[in-house]
């Protein structure tokens, strides 16, 4: 296995202080290899989003270490697709997508051109001039995905990015994501509640469980890509994962 891009060691995280202190994560060890697609599943509230927030620097661990080693020379080390779209309402769609490019020495026209490419990837090229409030929930989520893709991050963090989409669009974007990772060798950390989605995308699925949360199970998926969703081997792994998850929630 190649060198790790992400390494959590004995990670602990708690919110609040004193009486109100709640430990969300404890003793969590996890590494992600370069170019790996890691999918995280687990019950609501277990700390999946929190883990991504730690990676991007929005939350500070209370103990343990986090190491991120993005490829040197990449345009952006890391980008996050939030669980909610979080578009900036005062910017048109195209300028929302261009947002992350503004520190990088590109001219406005160049940034918009890049943004349009990002929008084309998620199938929204013709909505470039709209305001966010003129979009549907699923369209907003796709704009948020384009915004993260536009900065060409070496590590892409995605928090339930496709959950607001119809199954047809979702599968299209899953294929698109597989194409992008195959082409660019990006490392992806992807959170989802959809087991079929997990097994379709993942090189490895990690189950977070417990209170406080830690890595409870891990399944490596070595099936060749592009994967067929109805593939028997894939469905077998999905069944195994579902059983694992229901056992975990029964235990609690």
């Amino acid at each position: 296995m190649s060198e790790p891009v992400i390494e959590f060691r004995d990670l602990g995280l708690a919110y609040g202080q004193g009486e109100a202190r709640t430990v969300i994560l404890a003793g969590l060890d996890l590494t992600v290899a370069r170019g790996e697609v890691l999918v995280i599943v687990g019950e609501s509230g277990v700390g999946k989003s929190t883990l991504l927030r730690v990676l991007i620097g929005l939350a500070r661990p209370s103990s343990g270490t986090v190491r991120v080693a993005a490829r040197p020379g990449c345009r952006t080390p890391m980008a996050l697709v939030f669980q909610d779209a979080r578009l900036l309402p005062w910017r048109r769609v195209v300028d929302n997508v261009a947002f992350g490019l503004e520190g990088g020495g590109l001219s406005k026209a160049e940034r918009r051109a890049e943004a349009r490419k990002g929008l084309a990837l998620v199938g929204l090229a013709d909505l470039a001039g709209r305001w966010p409030h003129q979009l549907s929930g699923g369209q907003r989520q796709r704009v948020a995905i384009a915004r993260a893709l536009a900065v060409e991050p070496d590590v892409l963090l995605m928090d339930e990015p496709f959950s607001a989409l119809d199954s047809f669009t979702r599968e299209g974007l899953q294929d698109e994501l597989q194409r992008i990772t195959a082409q660019t060798g990006k490392t992806v950390v992807f959170v989802t509640h959809d087991i079929d989605e997990a097994v379709t995308l993942a090189d490895r699925v990690v189950v977070l469980a417990g209170k406080p949360g830690r890595v409870a199970a891990e399944v490596r998926i070595d099936l060749p890509r592009p994967r067929k969703r109805r593939d028997d081997a894939l469905q077998a792994i999905a069944r195994q994962l579902r059983a694992e998850l229901s056992r975990r929630s029964a235990e609690l």
Binding site: I56, G57, L58, T76, A79, L80, F82, D84, R86, L88, P89, W90, R91, R92, F99, G100, E102, G103, W131, P132, H133, V151
Partner: protein
């Protein structure tokens, strides 16, 4: 309600108001010296214009107004942003603000005269103070109210410095709230103009004072209406600008 209907209703309301006003002195219900009927106002207006007093007073007041508004709003937005972004700054200024805030514009007149003399800058100072507080509190509140989630978006994309946070998120997100404050200030500043000119700086306020000491109430009304018209003009222009700046809103 459609546009034609609402315009007609507005015109009818205004006409009824003028009729009532005209009837009061004409029917002998009040002394015309106390309340000049509106039909006498155009003549008074023409006299003021012919004397050359009206254009001078308006030009002078307008310059006080615009500069005072600019200075007060600029300082209010600037300090409001800093105070909204920085808890320490807010803490340090908390009691200074409470000390200075309740002082009415008129109370500053003696200091304005001592510091600036009977000069336009003294009038500008009085107007700017009135405008400052309104815009300051509106800006501070608007910045405080900005959605934390959007600030996180900027951080996640690497914009972590206070300046980046300000220009990328806080300022655009706070713009609606700041504009509400500015619009209030637009009206407040005209009131301050009168206060600022009563001590002898030439302008609409001064002229009103002169006329009222001579009991020329028709001339007072001319300048009241002049200010109303100027306010209406500025406010309409502002609303148009506001609509353009906030066209991203549903």
């Amino acid at each position: 309600m459609n546009l034609v209907r609402s315009t007609l209703l507005a015109a009818a309301g205004l006409a009824a108001f003028l009729l009532f006003w005209e009837a009061m002195p004409r029917l002998g219900l009040v002394d015309p010296a106390f309340l000049p009927p509106p039909s006498t106002i155009p003549a008074a207006f023409l006299r003021e214009v012919a004397l050359g007093v009206w254009p001078l007073a308006v030009a002078s007041s307008l310059s006080h107004y615009v500069v005072g508004l600019g200075v007060g709003a600029g300082a209010g937005i600037g300090l409001g942003l800093v105070s909204g972004m920085s808890r320490p700054f807010e803490a340090v200024t908390a009691w200074v603000v409470r000390l200075l805030r309740p002082i009415p514009g008129l109370a500053w007149v003696p200091f304005a005269i001592i510091w600036f003399g009977v000069q336009p800058s003294a009038a500008v100072f009085i107007i700017a103070i009135g405008v400052f507080w309104i815009v300051f509190f509106a800006t501070q509140g608007a910045v405080r109210g900005v959605d934390r989630d959007l600030i996180e978006v900027a951080q996640a994309f690497g914009f972590r410095s206070p300046l980046a946070r300000l220009t990328k998120i806080l300022l655009p997100a706070a713009t609606p709230g700041i504009l509400v404050g500015l619009r209030t200030a637009l009206g407040q500043a005209w009131m301050a103009v009168v206060a600022a000119e009563i001590f002898g700086v030439p302008g609409v306020g001064q002229r009103m004072m002169q006329a009222s000491s001579l009991l020329s109430t028709d001339i007072v009304v001319v300048y009241m209406l002049t200010m109303a018209a100027l306010y209406g003009l500025f406010d309409s222009a502002f609303v148009a600008l506001q609509g353009r700046l906030l066209r991203w809103r549903p």
